[in-house]
């Protein structure tokens, strides 16, 4: 089984410890993981802002980079959804415009091999107890693309419930968007901030030590809002919790 990590550009640049956590976790589970260095960005910022043509080379790059791997593991619901939901659309549009089936074929080749981290753990490896230890209270915010596009369902919560020492606290209005939305956060800053403020308040009200998601781009917004509000709750990626063990606990918080 050849497994590649698609770390995503946000994690690569701003949250390297999330990528490191994925590597630690997968190696602990006996999976050898590779990081093909030709990878960059899935193209979601371009695509969702309307720059479809600018997205196409990045979709090609993704398909080329991960050719030959059985599984591509993505620690981001949003980027995994970009590949699975939108690459086929990009391919179909290009074909409909008479520009050949190249992109459609590239999309078809990566869609079935691309997994968000919790899907890979639960569906491919078949594990829900990854042997993690994390002695903190945690609330979970299901990010929109994981929730509604990938239909991650209760995979993340199932994994969290098996973490020793972790106490899960329910988040009110959990399924409401945090207001990040990529360029939405800047183009409609007032509404985005209002959504973020409400989400951050709900998170703080749980009294948890940490808020966990499967998307660091949403955490950028949630964490930034929490910090500005002076909240003590820390944003943490699910991979970092799952990577924690007795020896390392606390490091991720």
């Amino acid at each position: 089984m050849r497994v590649a990590l698609f770390v995503t550009c946000v994690n690569d640049t701003l949250y390297p410890r999330t990528g490191q956590a994925v590597v630690t976790l997968l190696e602990r589970l006996g999976v050898e993981v590779d990081f093909p260095a030709a990878q960059t960005c899935c193209g979601q910022p371009q695509y969702n802002t309307g720059y479809r043509r600018e997205t196409e080379p990045l979709a090609h790059r993704y398909a080329d980079t991960f050719r030959g791997y059985d599984h591509i593991v993505v620690p981001s619901g949003s980027c995994a959804a970009m590949v699975r939901d939108n690459y086929p659309r990009l391919g179909a549009r290009a074909a409909a415009e008479g520009r050949g089936r190249g992109l459609a074929d590239a999309a078809a080749s990566v869609v079935p091999r691309t997994y968000e981290l919790t899907e890979f753990l639960v569906d491919v490896l078949g594990v829900t107890d990854v042997g993690a230890y994390y002695p903190h209270t945690v609330t979970y915010h299901p990010t929109c693309h994981g929730l509604r596009l990938l239909r991650l369902g209760d995979r993340p919560l199932t994994l969290l419930r098996k973490v020793r020492g972790l106490r899960l606290l329910e988040l009110e209005g959990a399924e409401e968007c945090c207001g990040f939305g990529g360029t939405f956060a800047v183009k409609n800053a007032a509404v985005s901030a209002a959504m973020g403020t409400d989400k951050a308040r709900a998170i703080t009200a749980t009294g948890a030590d940490a808020v966990c998601t499967v998307d660091n781009s949403c955490q950028l917004h949630i964490g930034g809002t929490l910090a500005r509000q002076g909240s003590a709750v820390r944003p943490v990626h699910l991979a970092e919790i799952l990577a924690s063990t007795e020896g390392t606990e606390g490091k991720a918080l």
Partner: protein
């Protein structure tokens, strides 16, 4: 607080773009509270009403399939409907755009010699600004839906498809009734309080006068059944039923996408619509009429079939899904952006997610407002999830964003045209290109990451320029000393070629 003066549709070009309007409305604490309360209540009720049906997914798929089939053969079903309505004693008029529809209705009212009409709540007549056109011709139109009445008396604009006065609370409604009812007819009773029962009674007394004296009524329709030419209006209050039965002349303005092939298809929509809109198993009043019947109901019936950009939308393979819409407003009620920005920020009769995809297709993307609507969403997908006819609203939003920034082929009034990218996106386009170039050159990406990491102690905590939109309300993330890429390279040895 100030309200936008009456005048629908808001003239594109003059209206502020969505972000500016929404930045103002999000600061309005009363509005935020009214909307939060109303949308959360109906949201929960809808979820419960939908959960009752084990075959909701199948119903939803059937609704989408029936609409898609009808839209594919729209010419056929419209002609069938026209023939059936005509055979049943009605007259059918075709309106290519708002101006034509206004002119037809104005002429029809004038021909009756009346100067007053009563109106059934209708989105199509809001869309074409019919009340204003009639007023300019010296004809007064009285809204009879309770929420529309509140909006009309308050010289306000609707802010929701189903509950046009959703932005008003009880105390505000009491004040509007007390202050303005007298000018339009029977005044509010003395000592009116904000008790819902008292407010409803005041409206009932005020409206009864209108129902009993009106000779002409104007309506829309939820459905037009092609096989028999039957029109269908569903409602909760019964005020529509009064208008549809008491006057001598009935004029119905109906979007061409409202046609469905057969009565059998109604079975699907009469389940989907009430549960999605009011969270009811069945709406209290369903009125159906076919042409005219001797001695029963209006003696004259006119059907005005309205295009107004719909066939242009039909030409777009992605955007055409929007024409399935049955105006249930479930997407508004679940939308976190609508909840905070309010309906007026969308500058159209159609607010919320459906407005963000429909308005730019019906009006185009030339004005600053219309070009900003496709961006009025975080693409969270909650709207798609609740839509009873499975309109993939996020997909259409992205499609329309592409139309805004890249231009391309569109259909305008039936003619294929190539539009240029909207103005004001030059800097963004350059940034997107630069980002794409960097992402297509991993070495450059790595060099950039290194630079950012090495200078991380120098980064400001708040940004200037466009970045302020971020750092005004959010802390910036700490830049790590080393990217993942660097860490991998350092700890796992050279891999790949970057």
């Amino acid at each position: 607080m100030t309200r936008i003066p009456l005048g629908m549709p808001t003239p594109p070009g003059a209206a502020p773009a969505f972000p500016a309007a929404a930045a103002r409305s999000t600061q309005d604490a009363t509005l935020r509270e009214n909307l939060r309360h109303a949308t959360h209540t109906i949201r929960a009720k809808r979820a419960a009403a939908v959960a009752e049906l084990s075959d909701w997914a199948e119903l939803r798929a059937a609704g989408a399939a029936i609409k898609d089939h009808t839209l594919r053969h729209l010419d056929h079903y419209l002609e069938q409907a026209e023939a059936a309505v005509t055979a049943a004693g009605g007259q059918v008029h075709w309106a290519a755009d708002a101006a034509e529809a206004q002119a037809i209705v104005t002429r029809l009212v004038r021909d009756t010699g009346e100067r007053e009409v009563v109106k059934v709540k209708s989105m199509a007549t809001q869309e074409i600004g019919l009340n204003e056109a009639l007023a300019a011709a010296g004809i007064t139109a009285y809204e009879t839906d309770l929420a529309e009445l509140i909006v009309q008396l308050g010289n306000d604009l609707p802010s929701h498809i189903l509950v046009p006065a959703i932005h008003r609370n009880r105390a505000e409604i009491r004040d509007i009734f007390r202050e303005h009812m007298a000018r339009w007819g029977r005044p509010a009773p003395d000592g009116l309080t904000d008790e819902p029962a008292e407010l409803a009674e005041a409206a009932r007394l005020h409206l009864r006068e209108k129902f009993l004296s009106a000779k002409v009524a104007i309506s829309g329709a939820n459905f037009l059944v092609a096989e028999t030419g039957t029109l269908v209006v569903v409602e909760s209050e019964g005020n529509g039923r009064m208008c549809l039965t008491l006057p001598e002349t009935l004029i119905s303005v109906v979007g061409i996408e409202k046609v469905i092939p057969a009565w059998r298809d109604l079975e699907v929509f009469l389940q989907l619509l009430p549960r999605s809109s009011t969270a009811e198993r069945m709406n209290p009043y369903t009125s159906m009429w076919t042409g005219t019947s001797h001695g029963d109901g209006p003696a004259a019936f006119h059907l005005v079939l309205l295009d107004n950009g719909r066939t242009d939308a039909l030409a777009d393979q992605v955007g055409r899904q929007a024409l399935r819409c049955i105006r249930c407003s479930a997407c508004l009620n679940v939308c976190p952006v609508y909840e905070r920005a309010g309906g007026h920020a969308y500058g159209s009769a159609y607010p919320g997610p459906i407005g963000a995809i429909l308005t730019p297709q019906l009006r185009g993307t030339a004005s600053a407002l219309d070009a900003s609507l496709p961006y009025a969403s975080s693409l969270c997908g909650a709207c798609y999830e609740v839509c009873p006819v499975a309109i993939d609203i996020p997909e259409i939003l992205v499609r329309l964003r592409e139309r805004v920034v890249e231009g391309g082929a569109v259909t305008i009034r039936g003619t294929r045209a190539v539009i240029r990218p909207a103005k004001g996106h030059a800097a963004e386009r350059a940034a997107m290109r630069a980002a794409r170039w960097t992402f297509d050159h991993p070495r450059a990406l790595r060099a950039g990451q290194r630079l950012v990491s090495r200078t991380r102690r120098l980064h400001p905590r708040r940004l200037a320029g466009p970045g302020r939109a971020w750092s005004d309300t959010r802390e910036l993330p700490e830049v790590p000393p080393e990217s993942f890429r660097e860490w991998w390279q350092r700890t796992r040895g050279p891999q790949g070629t970057a």
